[in-house]
Amino acid sequence: MTPTRGHDSHGESAGAYLLGALPELEAAAFERHVMGCADCRDELERLRPAAEALPISVDPFRPSARLKEGLMAAVSEELPRPVAARPGIARRAVASARWSGGGLQGFWRRPAFALASLALLAGGMAGGYGLASTGDDPEMRTFALKIDRSHLADASGSVEITGEQAVLRMHGLPELPSRKSNRIYQMWLKRASGDIVPGPLLSARADGGGATAVTGDLEDVTEVFVTRERAGGARAPTEKPRASAKLS
């Protein structure tokens, strides 16, 4: 095969490119050259496994726990925020978050099933009655959580649903897991059929905030609630809800 025009000036560059040793402009020029040069593409693919093995050659060292905490706090901050409820635009649903004990009688005895997915974050709407709002996005619904004040005196939170994603945000939670307790908060989904489906776990940070998110088919999910469970979560809730919101 005849080398492409300009090949001579790039012929030895494949190794340097893979090692990150080409200055920015030269790397860009090499990338343009490779698009039209089969020889250099072949050379890149031949050398690539060796270059990709280099980062694995280092001895393992462990980062501090602070790195993960800082990273996840930053990620949590970047999750979409609930839009403030505005009266008069709640055209998709208006949900009372008043807890309906009758509707959940015996729910903790039911088996939990595998499910759709969903997401929880930490947000700032007060408990009590939930107001579904579309905010600026007609596809977005936001529901305030009703809080069981006997357990979570200072908590607040909301569930935001957009398409197939649900996000739960909570504030004012006692820290879990903590030095004193290895328990954790867990989200649950109640289907129209009455089935209770286990959702993701939610850690509460030292500042009382916590968030998580889930995606999937939420079409027949009628309620979301939060309980406190053992570390690792449970397959069925072991206590009455500490926070809850009806979604329809």
Binding site: E12, S13, A14, G15, A16, L18, L19, G20, A21, L22, P23, E43, R46, L47, P49, A50, A51, E52, A53, L54, P55, I56, S57, V58, D59, P60, F61, R62, P63, S64, R66, L67, G70, L71, M72, A74, V75, S76, E78, L79, P80, A114, L115, A116, S117, A119, E164, Q165, P198, G199, P200, L201, A211, T212, A213, V214, T215, G216, G232, G233
Partner: protein, 217 residues
Amino acid sequence: MIQGEASQRRNQYPELHSGFQPEVPLLTRLTELTLYADEELMQLVQRGNPQAFELIYDRHGGAAFSLAYRMVADRVAAEDVVQEAFLSIWRSRERYRRERGSLRTWVLGIVHHRAIDALRRNLVHDRKRASAEGLEERQEAPELTATEVIRRDEARIIRTALGTLPKEQRQTIELAYFGGFTHTEIADQLEMPIGTVKGRMRLGLNKMRRALDEEAA
């Protein structure tokens, strides 16, 4: 290897996966998410799931930190590099394409670029760049996790392949990859033509590739 373990564990619990669609993982409990392979988790990350992202960090944060630490030889600077890299991964999660390679390769590539940026911005003192001077500061984890043991074994194999290279080729590769030096800087340091430096890189990688192939065979 981690992905293989995940697939193996998942096969032990078929009831958890009835109706499971490989393209769209549906199970969401943290304990069940751990059964997913990287590429499946990444689909959830691309849909904005922070739990899946946390698991990605749990799996690759150690390797990422080890690479950054090897390059910048300073714990604080290495953690800054890793945090920047993972935030970049979260923000540009849509760009990941599984057909282009493993998630680990993608993650470590981003960490490598960030570490080079840090070195070239001179955020880390030059004396530590890819030299042995910073190595004595390191403190290896006293008790290795299972994943770390696997990584250490992988590292040993690759170092053996590196060890097959002539000293000048290995030195050139290490200065470039771990030191973040450009070919021009290496040519200045070693007082040789740029063409010779580039040639050593290519020849060294080629030989290393053959050594890895033989090891795999």
